[in-house]
Point group: C2
Chain length 372, copies 2
């Protein structure tokens, strides 16, 4: 069972190095990467323009740009431990993950060939799960594995661990919040080693990156994004698994939740999800029946060079100053900025990108931005 | 908080006695009662025609007709223990119950005046409930009581008991499967006595009637029918509470279900109900928010003399024989009977009613009938 027929391309070595340099440079995230690649046509040109754009954005000091030597060293070190850095659209990049607006431009992948191309279901939940929750997660994972699905999760204690452990033989994927050589929690290194034989591990972080608190929500978007749907097994109010569920919904993925007693705080989050429209799940068939029609539809990747909104980097000093003056610590919408500045949308977007590269802009939900 | 503005009529003593005689006669259920009252205009005429109709239906022996003395004795005995027999549309008949096609033509009511006119929510569930289930049922009932709702249930052990007990002060209604003097289970006589001060009890059965197994599903339609909605707290697969939920859905009442762990067999039925569209319920506001818009709509009672499908009791012997010949132990639809016999719908309905009064006809769901 493959998630889609292979329809891929292969980066040249130099392009891969250029792309890695770009995404590893200061203030360049997946979306900014996409904007730059789109505007300049390739990573090399974007890299060449980066110092100028950053300076125009008003950076106090020039942002660090990843050198060619560093990028080559990262690729060599990664290959040494069996990690390959792949771009969306390349053969071993998870096809559904590639459809995200903020898909990692380069993803470190490791493990059994092809496991990342099979249809995946995410199983997530509390780290301090109940015995019943752990038992159910294992049972559900096993049943999904037997039905041909790869179970994807976050290698955490509790539900994640139970889901991975039950699918070591059928294939399971761990999504890491840190680098491939910085496994968290460290006690799960054995579990990771065991699951790599038939499964895989993915990370968008460089080797050596120790995961911090803010890396986990960021990582969670990869768990949901790579999967057909996310099953939440036991989650208290305001728990991390609910972030994964929210991201899944925003990404158009199915959300499944396992019910529990109203008196059990570990079920408060999952019961709420069901109230909000998640599919109540008590057995694997609840998941399989819901994703079956989705699997029949082809996965539509963005073009390898995504066509986004245009940028105009030729703003005059006055125009740039006017836009910057309109910005402050309170979030303002792009539409308001365009209206109030009288500048063209392409100019406003370009100025915002420069500010972002200079580390001076914060993007909020709903197209809102503020100055840091 | 009243469920509707009073808009009632009052039966004459003789009409009440005639109606009681009719519904207490052999083979006359609520629907047949309605058909007879509709066709003959009043219970007295229907009673006079009953022997003839029963004979034409081919009864082996004439069905027993309740005598005037028996009816008078039942009313006297009922009054003696504080039970009044009321008809749909009379002042103390639960207004939502009166809207059912098969509303009891006379309902024995007992307890605090007006409690039956307040908006009711049914809480039902397992007799062998878990401690958590009992606790939750009590908590939910108390919260609904504080919000002004009357909690209605079946006086059974387990969830019913917990729901009644928590609402003795705010008002709760017990729906009995037997007569008012045949409380089941007998150990709940004290609970019933306690709840009558602010609450009530209702039964469609005559005094002295000991409830049999088949009386409970029949009783359950009154629990759902009198309420705005039914909350099912803990129910295994194929449990009686699920029958109440199905009846509620058929009656157009809201269905609420309390979730539980997939590993808990006592939650299997409620989880299934939610999968089928019941509202997942973890707190009283889930119920209150769902019924609020329904409470704003007026309750539409049928006309006091409901206008139903007409009957033609003037079928010839040949026509009657033809219809009877088409019937057998396998259920057949009314439409097929009309088509195959070539008789008018009114004639086919009349012949079926005669057969029913003769105790020879069984009605199934979906308008299907068979010969007994």
């Amino acid at each position: 069972m493959h998630d889609r027929p292979p329809n891929t391309f292969h980066l040249s070595d130099t392009d891969r190095i250029d792309r890695l340099r770009l995404i590893r440079s200061d203030n360049v995230g997946p979306r900014t990467f996409g904007s730059l690649l789109n505007h300049f046509g390739n990573a090399r040109t974007a890299l060449e323009r980066l110092p100028d754009l950053t300076r125009r954005g008003g950076a106090a000091r020039s942002g660090r740009i990843c050198s060619e030597a560093e990028a080559q060293a990262e690729i060599a070190a990664a290959n040494k431990i069996g990690v390959t850095l792949v771009a969306p659209g390349e053969a071993s990049y998870p096809p559904r993950l590639a459809t995200l607006d903020d898909a990692p431009p380069l993803l470190g992948v490791r493990g059994a060939p092809d496991v990342l191309l099979r249809p995946m279901i995410a199983i997530v939940g509390s780290r301090n799960a109940s015995g019943a929750g752990l038992k159910f997660a294992g049972q559900l994972a096993r049943d999904l594995g037997e039905a041909g699905f790869v179970v994807i999760s976050g290698l955490a204690r509790g539900i994640d661990q139970a889901a991975h452990r039950a699918t070591i033989a059928s294939g399971t994927v761990a999504v890491l919040a840190g680098g491939h050589d910085r496994i968290y929690p460290a006690e799960h290194e054995d579990l990771l080693a065991a699951l790599l034989e038939h499964g895989g591990a993915i990370s968008e972080m460089p080797l050596g990156h120790v995961p911090r608190a803010r890396d986990f929500p960021r990582r969670n978007r990869l768990i949901s994004g790579a999967s057909l749907g996310v099953v939440v097994v036991e989650a208290a109010h305001r728990s991390g698994s609910l972030i994964t569920a929210r991201m899944a919904a925003e990404q158009g993925r199915e959300v499944f939740a396992v019910p529990g007693s109203p008196l059990d705080p570990r079920a408060a989050g999952t019961n709420d999800l069901i109230k909000q429209g998640a599919t109540l799940t008590t057995e694997a068939s609840d998941v399989i029946n819901a994703v079956a029609p989705i699997m029949e539809r082809p996965i539509v990747l963005g073009a390898s060079e995504p066509v986004g909104e245009p940028f105009d980097f030729d703003a005059g000093a006055n125009e740039r100053a006017c836009i910057v003056n309109l910005l402050g610590p309170s979030p303002i919408s792009l539409d308001d900025l365009i209206r109030m500045s009288g500048a063209s949308p392409a100019t406003v977007r370009a100025v915002l990108l420069e500010l972002e590269l200079a580390g001076r802009l914060e993007r909020h939900g709903g197209g809102l931005v503020s100055l840091i």
